[in-house]
């Protein structure tokens, strides 16, 4: 496997599928759906094949591909895989086919839909695997294009506005990133993440940026920070999210919440933290408050929604913020604060697990909302349903698993990640853990409201008449996802084994207790 450019294959196979669809203008709708699905499965297949030769004891990058790209600018084609990227590649491999199945029945131009979806999938994989800013930014920006058109062309009534708002927010963030890296390149002559991380660890990067004087070092940090924060999104840069997710067609919403938001979190862990440990430490208290803002505000806002899709969208703000809460708690630790290695490891391990778990659970929830919508002719209000459990028991059970996983019930996957995050944050910044509990409480309230109003009580609303149970196609998505939630709830070490060496290395970099 090492002889093959394994990572390039992972990145470009979906794009090859998109190209194929582009070259077949007369293909029938059904054939284009099948073709897109086959190519979207390639990621999982290739990632599982690569797993065989993945060294679980190594912390560094594996399967590295590095070639000169633009020699005169010192830019390289640089791909590499470590435990964190592997986790996200696997997640993409699972969620992308599920997303395509989630929009299986939409009839408007399925060829173009599949084409854009595969473009988006390939871009996300590129973001998770590229290690040179030039290379990475290409995928980061290109992901916006299919995302924009997926919202704009297949979205709901307010899709045009949502799509424009989404892309303008994202581009504003990108402008910050671009400017930040222009400054870094002007100072160091390098755009390589690994090389820059080494410079940062040695203090050279900090010294070179400090030479800019005045507020400029802070501005460079702020630019990069902003670019990533909009993507996650970190409170208060999240305002584009509810309408973008709610207007997007089901499959796209699944992919956005699972993968696009993780691109941002990944950027925090892969870029911002290694390159700017000092500024992150200095700003950690306000940043912790922002993450808590996402946790608490996201949950309370979700509680106030009467539209199920917007409720799930706000719950994403809440869940993704736990990852950043963990990271900011880690960076807040200073020497002699009494924090232990165990706290660091728990917080970081929790953040990575939470990325994966939220990806699975939120995708399943958006899928369930899509099923409800399909059954009710497009209605998705909290009050539009009632008693679905009695007419569709299997669907209710599977959706319940996703809801309770999202809520953090022990035994399901969501619990493990959130528990580790809180375990770590409690040791590092006890006050933040205390405030964060408010979010847990509100999450439980709105998810239980969802569960009760839609599935329990007398049959009502769109579910008053006949309400068909899950079909074979729906089971094909929900059963594997639910099985994964159960499995990872009981055996989280399946995933943690991939990145334990990475966590050990990270924890070793931290200040002594």
């Amino acid at each position: 496997m090492n002889a093959l450019p394994c990572l390039s294959l992972i990145v470009f196979t979906p794009w090859a599928g998109a190209l194929l669809l582009a070259l077949l203008p007369r293909i029938s709708g059904g054939a284009s759906r099948v073709l897109a699905l086959v190519f979207s499965f390639s990621t999982l297949a290739l990632a599982l094949a690569a797993l065989g030769s993945f060294d679980r004891t190594a912390a560094g990058f594996q399967f590295v591909e590095r070639h000169a790209w633009i020699a005169s600018l010192n830019v390289h084609y640089h791909l590499g895989l470590d435990g964190m990227s592997l986790l996200l590649v696997l997640l993409t491999g699972i969620v992308a086919p599920a997303g395509l199945l989630g929009s299986w029945r939409q009839t408007r131009n399925p060829r173009l839909f599949g084409l854009l979806f595969l473009l988006l999938q390939g871009s996300a994989l590129g973001v998770f695997l590229a290690l040179d800013f030039f290379h990475w930014f290409l995928f980061w920006e290109l992901s916006l294009v299919p995302a924009f058109f997926l919202i704009k062309l297949w979205g709901g009534a307010d899709a045009a506005r949502a799509a424009v708002q989404f892309i303008l927010y994202a581009l504003a963030g990108s402008a910050g990133l671009l400017l930040g890296f222009a400054a870094i390149y002007a100072a160091t002559g390098s755009l390589d993440f690994e090389g820059l991380a080494r410079l940062a660890a040695a203090g050279t990067l900090h010294a070179k940026l400090a030479a800019l004087g005045g507020f400029w070092p802070k501005a460079v940090f702020a630019g990069v920070f902003l670019g990533l924060a909009v993507k996650v999104p970190l409170f208060p840069f999240h305002t584009w999210l509810p309408s973008a997710y709610a207007e997007a067609p089901t499959g796209a919403a699944m992919f956005f919440t699972s993968i696009l938001s993780k691109m941002g979190v990944y950027g925090f862990l892969r870029i911002l933290w290694p390159l700017f440990p000092g500024p992150l430490h200095a700003a950690s208290v306000p940043l912790l408050w922002l993450a808590l803002g996402g946790v608490v505000f996201g949950a309370f806002a979700a509680m106030r929604q009467s539209d199920l899709k917007r409720m799930v969208a706000y719950s994403s703000v809440n869940h993704v913020s736990y990852c950043l809460l963990a990271l900011f708690a880690v960076t807040s630790a200073s020497a002699g604060s009494g924090a232990t290695r165990g706290d660091f490891s728990a917080a970081l391990s929790g953040a990575l697990l939470q990325m994966f778990n939220h990806g699975i659970s939120a995708a399943a929830l958006f899928f369930c909302v899509g099923v409800l919508e399909a059954r009710s002719g497009g209605r998705r209000g909290l009050g539009d349903f009632g008693g679905v459990r009695t007419s569709a028991p299997v669907f209710a059970g599977l959706c319940g698993i996703a809801l309770f996983s999202s809520l953090g019930l022990p035994g399901l996957n969501g619990f493990v990640g959130e528990f580790l995050v809180f375990r770590g944050v409690f040791g590092l910044a006890p006050w933040a853990a205390a405030v964060g509990c408010l979010g847990l409480l509100a999450t439980a309230m709105f998810l239980l409201t969802f569960w009760q109003r839609v599935f329990h009580g007398p049959r009502a609303g769109a579910a008053a008449g006949s309400f068909a149970d899950a079909t074979g196609g729906e089971l094909a998505v929900l059963v594997p996802l639910a099985a994964l939630m159960l499995l990872l709830g009981i055996l989280p070490q399946i995933l943690t084994a991939f990145y334990n060496p990475l966590i050990t290395t990270w924890a070793g970099l931290l200040p002594p207790p």
Partner: protein, 499 residues
Amino acid sequence: MSLLPWSIYVSFAGALLALAAGRRSAAAARWVALATAATAWGLVLAAACRFTPAAGLQTVADAGWIPLMGIRYHLAADGISLTLLVLTGLAATAGILFSWNLEERAGEFFAFYLTLIGGVYGVFLSADAFLFFVFYEIAIVPKYFLIAIWGSTRREYGAMKLVLYSFAGSALVLAGLLWAYAAGGAHSFAIGDLAAAAAHFTAGEQRGMFALVFLGFAVLAGLFPFHTWAPTGHAAAPTAASMLLAGVVMKLGAYGCLRIALPLFPTGFAFWQPAIGGLAVAGIVYAGFIALVQDDFKFVIGYSSVSHMGFVILGLAAGNVLAAGGAVLQMFSHGVIAGLLFAVAGRMVYDRTHTRRLEDLRLLHLGRLLPFAAVVFVIAGLASMGMPGFSGFPSELTILIGAWRTSRAWAVVAAFGVLVAAAFTVRVITVCFFGSAGEPAPAAGTHPLPPITLAEKTGAALLIGATLLIGLKPGLLLDWILPSLHSPLFTAVLKGGAP
């Protein structure tokens, strides 16, 4: 390398041939024009294959011309001129493909068109400032006729405004050059000799001469606030002329700034540098905002050209090798992208719908009626926004990095300009091609529009291929450009080597 001068001669000969062929039929004139442009481009590409990048100009033709004043017919090329020669050939060939439907006085149209091309090749090859100026004037005159005869909305006004601005600019250039020639006691117009003589000028003289020459050229490059001729002229011009004017002729001005104004007057440059940079970034943002509120499809693109040319001027103003290299790359990139945008707006859309008002286009849902045009415009728009993978990204990134080294404020404002560019591009894409959600879409077939022709598809493929190729392999051009900027002529103005 000796193939290069033939690009000029072939173009001028082709102009005469096209005029003659036009008497028989429009189709004959078209084919002559296409063959001429493709041959000239082929000659440039063949020469490019044999080109070895080096610091300094490599002479390709040299003969005495006016011995009394030491004027020589001296043609030479380096990586910078080669980049722009390749662009000229590409834009010229694509422009003819996008005028394939032209029937009215086709012989004369292509004669003017090829004369313009020949003049442009001449400018990019001149190593003698006087010769440069002669070719520069040859390129200006046909522009007037192309717009005034074959143009659309308010064509007389647009043509007159464009030509008056151009002549005013060249008058300033001429005054500055003659001043330098007379005051320096130089005995030739060779750029190197003039630069050597300029070293003896006082700082005051340098400032004055630089101001005249730079401003004269910068008017043609669309420097804010002397840019207003550009959108008016480009909107009024026929499609092929818009493509060539925005794509190549604006580059003549920027090229003049880089080739003549900067090396001749380094002290003057240092004095005016803050003002130029300030105007450049002001133009980037101002033109972007104007493009955001335009109601005419072609005016949006016209103002976007001004905004993008602001990046070229910013790259020159930054005064370092990296930014200047980015500026040359941006000249190439914008030439291709502006060509593509004007091709869609003028040929694919306007020639079919006969309206350029965004409000009218919104109701047509062109994304469904002309899916090919929609795809091409989305690609061109992405390239124009500076999306990675397309040529605009490496060029704007290198300019930003270089500008950051000189003035961080410029870089910040310019980055904001990138955002404004994204906003107006997204707006025009959605309004023109994807209608509004509220309006019912007309059923397909109610507005039968002629299908996209093979000529248009070929032209679009050429331009898209070029922007993608340079977007993914900017090294192809940067490896020509950067060594040329290490020439001794530039050492006084361009600080810092490549990284």
